[in-house]
């Protein structure tokens, strides 16, 4: 077992174990902190997949932004008099049925994908992700050439979200 597979199994274990805690924990704050471990180990998986820029964006946006937003939401919506922020479950039977069926379908699908990629010639693919090189230059140039329209649309979307969130969150007069 080499170092790569050791790192993969370690990160995969942390990802899945902390995601299980997110789903089944009865304490909302524990669930939010456990989501932080899930997101950080997913960022480690991105590093294993040679996606360095995506890993950094994952830490900055998810852990630094979305998770803090969710924690603010938890703190603002729980009653201050109760010490324990406990929650209940809904529809346990339906949930187990759905995730069991979906898990069976996904588990049957996975082995059909081949696991042998030694014959890929990276020279023939435009903008290929060559393992061992940085992807920042490629991502920057393709965002401003090939994907410039969707880049601008995302900027407009963020502006609209900013206005909409302040409008929705404002107190009604």
């Amino acid at each position: 077992m080499n170092l790569y597979s050791l790192a993969f199994y370690f990160l995969a274990f942390i990802t899945i174990a902390s995601a299980v805690v997110v789903v089944f924990s009865r304490n909302l704050v524990y669930a939010a902190y456990s989501l932080m471990f899930t997101l950080l180990s997913i960022s480690g998986l991105y590093v294993l997949l040679t996606a360095d820029f995506i890993a950094i964006v994952q830490i900055m946006v998810y852990v630094g932004g979305i998770l803090i937003l969710l924690l603010f939401g938890i703190m603002l919506t729980q009653e201050q008099t109760r010490v324990k922020v406990k929650v209940n479950y809904l529809y346990i039977g339906i949930t187990m049925l759905v995730i069991g069926l979906l898990g069976a379908v996904l588990y049957n699908y996975i082995p059909f994908v081949t696991n042998d990629f030694s014959n890929i010639n990276y020279k023939n693919i435009p903008n290929a992700v060559v393992p061992g090189t940085s992807t920042i230059k490629q991502i920057g140039s393709s965002l401003l050439n090939q994907y410039v329209l969707i880049f601008e649309v995302l900027g407009m979307l963020l502006l609209i979200v900013l206005v909409a969130a302040t409008t929705i969150g404002r107190k009604e007069k």
């Binding site: 989501l35 998986l45 995506i54 998810y62 995730i99 996975i110 992700v129 995302l154 107190k171």
Partner: protein, 103 residues
């Protein structure tokens, strides 16, 4: 022990997807439903990057992942604003007790 390939990453992302779906269906609290949505989006991102790495599909998988991350941030901001409004209306955020958006 075989080498780590595409199947291993697909397995991790499948388990994450199922857990996120379970959180969406199972949890009563609206913020926990938002966390389940984040788990589902993250599993899709792992699939994008893994296919981009192992099938040699180029940098477009990374661009897709960036777009999904931006959409997740937008969704979390709007979702939190709606949840705070609902909390102001009827003092809890259990998703099974909402019957009206405005009283």
């Amino acid at each position: 022990m075989e080498n780590i390939g595409l199947n291993h990453f697909l397995f991790v992302s499948s388990v994450l997807f199922i857990l996120g779906l379970a959180a969406i269906i199972l949890r009563k609290n609206a913020i926990m439903v938002l966390m389940g949505v984040e788990l589902v989006l993250n599993s899709a991102n792992i699939n994008f990057v893994a296919y981009s790495r192992f099938l040699g599909l180029g940098i477009s998988g990374h661009i897709n992942t960036l777009i999904v991350i931006v959409l997740a941030a937008a969704e979390a901001a709007i979702g939190l604003a709606i949840v705070l409004n609902l909390y102001r209306l009827n003092q809890n955020i259990n998703v099974d007790e909402f019957e009206e958006l405005k009283n």
